[in-house]
Assembly symmetry: C2
Homo-oligomer: 607 residues x 2
């Protein structure tokens, strides 16, 4: 095992969990009544231990060793990943928020999400393996027959088997509706749910590896004769090794890994080209009704998109940790404001301080948004009041594309700040600063590119239920910020968030108009910018809530106590976010104001 660079201070995570979010509400819900606040604190501490002792030390190993493809189609993962897998599986760390009936821990989504930040921050490449296994298991639990559930789910929640999502094909990426993999009823089977599968899938994360004895692929294919496009796509359970009805393993299932990709980052996570049925012998089990595959896959995709936000936050927060640790130790010349002074740790340099604050405020704001999202998931599932559940569910729908796209794009920018704090050392591989940048970038691409997230937001989520979810949100922000506009500590900041909400609202209004006027081109040209404005305003709102909480709590503690320092830090962080990050909203709005179509007007040959 290598050196551990994972050094997360859990204080802010605990603040989100039990000071910002309404944890008592969650604890009052039926499925969570057996838990107490202390349980969650303990889980976080134990998770940190796993990160420091296992996942963290395997992070650079994984990058340097990478996965290895062998001629027989097998793939070996970095050596240290085996021990990580063993510890995660044996101690039940994989399916934290899943059903205890099948070996999950039944924890609130909020707790699962926050712990997920720790695990992916310690070793994102490794976490793709358990992440996909559990995600798959949840889909089978939700849509499978009793038999499917009995055969697969517990094994996937407890680390016995792995899993994958097989969507992309060489000629069908973002436009999955064009996929060519086909399924025909298996002439040799009496079970009408068994099909023969034939096709090639590409970019299959964890498609092949040697962590588990079996891998359960969830695969999209078109049943012969089904309509073209997404409406004719069905979902199949395709085990690497066939699973007999008694749960024992049968024959290998004609699923061959044809190669792995060499990538910018996440070298320890295998990205495979998978051939199904090259020898005509690949069998799959239809999951649910024929032609209902896309909708089902979207459930998993939706969870995966939230997971993307968690991955991005995890890595960005680790980039912050690496930067702040280095900045406290590295001695260099005096700062700008004391030019004739002594050499100091570079954390006293103004620009380093600015960069660290960018990392701190950026990650804390993302954590607030992600914490809020997972909190709302718990509410949407278990609140006794139906209307409350419905409202929470709508807000979850609105926030999901923000969490996926904003956190991955902004997280990438933050890793760059982290590298800059280390300077030349940050460009070298001794510290993982540069690895964070290489690992995080994929998050903006997979599970639907960030552009697709922005279309999901503008084209679907914004207009749902007559735009109610968006209007509710903007109303809340406007009220909260007007109410506090003369706040002695945060007056400027409340005014900025108010203005940002106005700008975000104006974007939405214009989109309605563009749709009405048939000026469709203006929408996709600016939809990512709208998403960014929206996300920053959401975060501005939440971080000011945090700022007010911190101010109140500060009255109860000594300013120089650990809590006192945390709360004072939080107040400055809230200010920094509003004054230095949220402000980006205004440039994007100015751009929108130009209604520029030059990118479409330019002759194609001019590129």
């Amino acid at each position: 095992m290598g050196i551990n660079y994972f050094k997360r201070d859990p204080r802010d995570l605990k603040f989100v969990l039990s000071e910002h979010m309404d944890l008592d509400k969650i604890l009052s819900y039926e499925p969570y009544r057996d838990f107490a606040r202390d349980d969650f604190e303990m889980i976080i501490e134990e998770a940190l231990k796993v990160c420091r002792e296992k996942l963290g030390p395997a992070m650079q190993d994984g990058d340097r060793e990478g996965v290895v493809y062998h001629e027989d189609g097998s793939v070996t993962v970095p050596e240290s990943f085996h021990e990580c897998w063993r510890v995660m599986a044996e101690n039940g760390w994989m399916a934290l928020s899943s059903n205890p009936e099948f070996g999950g821990q039944g924890l609130p989504a909020l707790v699962g999400g926050l712990v997920g930040e720790l695990f992916t921050g310690a070793n994102m490449a490794f976490m793709t393996y358990p992440g996909l296994a559990v995600g798959n298991g949840r889909l089978i639990e939700h849509f499978g027959t009793d038999e499917d559930r009995a055969l697969f789910v517990e094994k996937m929640y407890t680390g016995v088997w792995g899993g994958t999502m097989c969507l992309t094909e060489p000629d069908a990426g973002s436009d999955v509706g064009w996929l060519r993999t086909k399924a025909i009823p298996d002439p040799e089977s009496e079970d009408p749910r068994i099909y023969r599968i034939e096709g090639t899938k590409r970019f299959i994360t964890c498609g092949e590896h040697n962590l588990t004895e079996n891998i359960i692929h969830l695969l999209l294919a078109r049943i012969e004769g089904a309509p073209m496009g997404t409406k004719g796509i069905s979902l199949f359970i395709v085990p690497k090794i066939w699973v007999n009805p008694d749960g024992s393993l049968g024959e290998p299932n004609d699923v061959i890994c044809a190669g792995v990709e060499h990538k910018m980052g996440i070298h320890g996570s295998s990205t495979c080209t998978m051939n199904f049925g090259e020898n005509g012998k690949c069998r799959g089990i239809l999951l649910g009704e024929p032609n209902s595959g896309m909708a089902k896959m979207f459930q998993m995709m939706n969870e995966a998109r939230m997971g993307c936000g968690v991955q991005a936050l995890g890595i960005a927060a680790s980039a912050y940790d690496t930067a702040r640790t280095y900045a406290k130790e590295r001695i260099q010349g005096p700062p700008f404001t004391n030019r004739k002074g002594d050499r100091v740790p570079i954390i006293k340099h103004e620009d380093v301080r600015r960069a660290l604050m960018m990392l701190k405020a950026g990650t804390e704001a993302m954590r607030a948004m992600i914490g809020n999202l997972f909190f709302l998931i718990d509410v949407s599932m278990y609140d006794p009041d139906e209307e409350t559940r419905k409202l929470a569910d709508a807000r979850v729908g609105l926030l999901t594309p923000l969490v996926k796209a904003y956190c991955s794009d902004f997280g990438y920018m933050l890793t760059r700040e982290g590298i800059h704090v280390l300077g030349g050392v940050g460009y070298c591989s001794e510290f993982p600063a540069e690895q964070y940048a290489r690992d995080i970038l994929i998050v903006s691409i997979w599970e639907g590119t960030n552009y697709i997230q922005s279309l999901d937001l503008v084209g679907r989520k914004l207009g749902l239920d007559g735009g109610k979810a968006f209007q509710d949100w903007i109303g809340e922000v406007m009220n909260f910020t007007s109410e506090h506009k003369d706040d002695p500590d945060f007056g400027k900041d409340f005014k900025l968030v108010y203005k940002a909400a106005q700008a975000t609202g104006d974007f939405a209004m214009r989109y309605m108009k563009y749709f009405q006027d048939g000026r469709f081109g203006l929408i996709p040209l600016s939809s990512k910018r709208f998403l960014e404005c929206f996300a920053e305003t959401v975060m501005g709102h939440l971080i000011l809530q945090q700022g007010l909480i911190a101010r109140d709590k500060l009255k109860e503690v000594k300013p120089d106590s650990a809590d006192g320092i945390f709360y004072r830090g939080k107040m400055e962080t809230a200010r920094f976010f509003c004054r230095n990050i949220l402000t980006n909203v205004f440039s994007r709005h100015t751009s929108l104001d130009q209604e520029d179509t030059s990118a479409l007007d330019i002759p194609e040959e001019a590129f």
Copy 2:
């Protein structure tokens, strides 16, 4: 040799060279009178050929093979680099704008700069070797004795010997004044210019390699007894193998490479730890007067900083080329504005178009700024009018930190857009899209971090000569943009650039006030933002000049001719830049307006 991905269309480069910049003026200067316009066009075509046939195919090779450190202290470069070096040396491609007396080509700086974009865009890692050899040679030509010049310069301009700049030490990075390497007069030499050198240098680019028989290090050290800080630093010529007075090679000079760094990118460029005088036998020749080393090194550093802008532009433009080529070939589903349409090349997708336009407008604006800088260098050196030379020189000083810092930071952002155009494929290593991101990042760190550039701008350049250079520039922009504010094609854009100039001017005014009021902390917290605003306004000014030229020229050609398409494209590009990139100025100005000091006010322990 590997696959060539270098596919630069030189049309915009030729536009900058002979339609935007005043080439006739340059051709009227004494040293350039023997050249004709056609010569430059031919040079560009020939340079492109070298890129396509040699440098380009070696780019991925270099990344994959990397440099190899051997136990005897030797370093081998990627195999294909040898052929690149041979071709560059034999055909005189290394010292394009240097003195013909010593084997340089004597071309205008403008031509050298633009060709440099091609070479670094084709293979940045390789180009570090000739870049440092020539940079070193120029310093020796400028400050050396006749004997030094005779011994070293021609060999460094023509690829016989390599070179390095040895500044950084393990404990002295950005604060070079703290360096510990020492020099004492050599007791065994009668020549008072010969010193014994002892010390360790780190992060020495091209410090050791097997491309040339000798490497001439230019090294900063403190002569025993000299003052502390930068005032006591001297510059030495330290050959790897001693050079006898007759030019023949003597004994090895006790210079040992102790290791190479593993880095995020530029794997083919060696980054070395160098031990000088471990056995007490390292000799160096004092270059110029004792204790004058920093000022001399700054001449080279200044050129290197311009070179950084060229590197960043070169890579960003190659990222654009890779993206536009892919986008024209890759077929996917229909665009947003024609949802029921056929599958199309993704260049017809609105967000891909936006990303390509970002890359096109971004690189063309940077090329305009860099072209302008190199043009001004020619003016500053050879214009017959002294006042004109002086003004040009002051403008060069102002633009240099912008070119270094803005292009490297923005270039990194652009490589990300390039990756996104390719999607998942962009994250994989088949195409060099991800390599561009890894290679370019170092440019924002080396030759003085971008923060240091911003302090150079604010702390030195802005105030020179009572702020005249800045005021001249802002006056020009204000006049030009007011004059055209009702332009039928670019009215909106002129107004935006006018407002951006106002914002940039306001930054400068505030800095004066902060200096006067002793509110020093606000300066380093925002200096990078000021630099960015300044650079974008400079580019907005230049790209609107280009837009007007394109409009005029369009009248003389058929709209669908190659030139017609280029000029129409340029007009849209100018609009896109002003409406989508320049607009970032306004958010930064809003942030400045908050006069936020939270990053300094926060307790250090809160990080």
